[in-house]
Amino acid sequence: MADLPLDAQRRLRSATAVRGGWGRYPRATMSAWRPESPEDAAALLLRADGPLLPVGGLRSYGDQALLTGGGAIRMLRLNRFLALDTATPAVECEAGVTFGELLEVLAPHGLSVPVSPGTRFVTLGGAIANDVHGKNHDRFGAVGAHLDWIDLLLVSGEVRRLTPSGTPELFAATLGGCGLTGLILRARLRLQRTSQAVEVRYSRHDNLEALMAALVEARNAASYSVAWLDAVAAGARLGRGVLETAEPAADTDGPRASDRWLALPFDLPGGLLNRWTVGAFNALYYRRIPVGGRTRRLPLARFLYPLDAIGGWNRLYGRAGFHQFQCVLPEATAPTGLARILERVTASGRASFLAVLKTLGAEGAGHLSFPRPGFTLALDIPRRPGSLELLAALERLTLEHEGRVYLAKDSALSAESVPVMYPRLPAFRRVLAEVDPEARLQSDMARRLGLRGGG
């Protein structure tokens, strides 16, 4: 049978390749293993030489899932559903299960995940490792707020079941821990009973102040809210955008999500996206919504994953790749801070497609959780000469306004800013020193930002 012991080497063979994150910059030459069982993953940790890093769907943008000269442990094949408790409701599954699979399996039971990132290709392990948030953070918090436990495979080969109360330090370090505490094998996620369709309301707001006011109103009233902002519009129109709010539809049997998604199989020439084409697209996106707004009914998956409609859209930016910049600014500093950030972006002429603006609620539970109360802005910056200077300027503006940059998206932050933006970094480092004193787990991001500390 195929499950008879193949020789251990074969099962643990690696493939070497040049890889990049979702932004396709930076790149790294690294090997990769792809275990098909937790036992094989454990054998790998004990036997492989050199630094290692668990990776999931590779939907982080920068160098968080890269490890130059080391080995990635690809977790995608550990994707088994282990238990579905429809009463509580909650699901137990392996870390390689993606949000797409979760939605598909849960839908027939009238269930869904309480929190989801913006693409269905993210794995549960990757979501935990960044304590991801959705379009409902004000009400539901981040994914970490819905976990009963996490099974973590430590570099020692030991598997530990982490809970917020039983193992508070290791739980808080693993949640948002960028894969550095160990391999997340399994988790139990509490679920939400919900309609599989949503009523979405679109409204347009012609400047930043109006858009922010609309978001503040929506955060208390709507189940989901997100704004798409035109990051090319300047002057009086700075920060204009479309607010989407959504409520679960009353009757559950809405339109079914079609599984026909388009795919972009090639790179677009780098120059195609410039301030004029993107500006035109953004203007079109804005004007599509009538002044009085409109509503539409959408399958839940379509609403949660609008960008997945075009597979491989990251290739729109050409071979050079792109950066994504996402920051959160506290309520008090956000109005001026966001305006200054947008002014800087529009002045640079570095076209960004639609930027996303959301509100965030409570502080995350992980030592390096990104969410904190305030406004979060995310934008794409095509990689061209000068884009690093722009990112440095955005980093400074974020610091000046007491904000923080999201590590899941980052490819340009400086190491000095991290302890300021993430005040719980020392606690995170203490846990790493304890569970992985020899720094077996590493990433290009951890090296760049000195996340482990101690040089």
């Binding site: 499950d3 008879l4 193949l6 063979r13 094949r77 559903f81």
Partner: protein, 250 residues
Amino acid sequence: MRPVWIVLGATSPLARAFAIEAGRAGAALLLVARDAERLAPVAADAAIRTGAEVDTLVADFAEPAGLAALATTCWDRAGALGDGPVCLFAAAGTMPDQAQIDAQPELVRRVFAVNAVSLAELLQRLAPRFEAQRGGRIVVVGSVAAERGRPSNYVYGASKAALQTYLQGLRGRLFPAGVGLTTVVPGFLDTAMTYGLPGTFLVAAPETAARRIWRAAARGREVVYVPWFWRWIMLVIRLIPEPLFKRLKL
């Protein structure tokens, strides 16, 4: 009527994906594998993903002494799961490197035992039951390596060739009883067997392969290549004259 699929080697990625296809189509599943610890999550997963009724059986299929009992247990447990015909999927395979076999010639015996002998004996024991049932379907996974002996893989290939020849005969035997038999001839599948292996190309995801196998079996196909183009690759390879073939470093 609810058919029941017995899936042998259920922890292999292809068998797991096939079980999910069968479950989605409304069948009940009896998943059989050697390693209880690896089988449990696969069984839970198939049940949750498909809503199918799933039973498991831990058995070491390479153990010749247990095969008579295994045949009986499989058949009885499967019969208890549904009122439709019992069907069988078998993904058998151990594939040590040829170099390893060269170093340990006793591995030849093991490769044949697992890939051909045990499976043939089990099928031989189940054949009368399939005949008595007068229906059902058997799907067995062979290999493109069976179709031409190559220095890099000939022991494995020969064991699969033995199996495939056996299946041809069994197909003819079962045909009058209305039992279909599909031989699956996979090229490279994207599993741990090929991951990172130099010289592999156009590997197919197990899920894609399983869907194709499921459709072919449902249509009553005798032989199915996965991915499909391997039929043509193998046609060419079979046509190369032996005096030339022996000089090719394949």
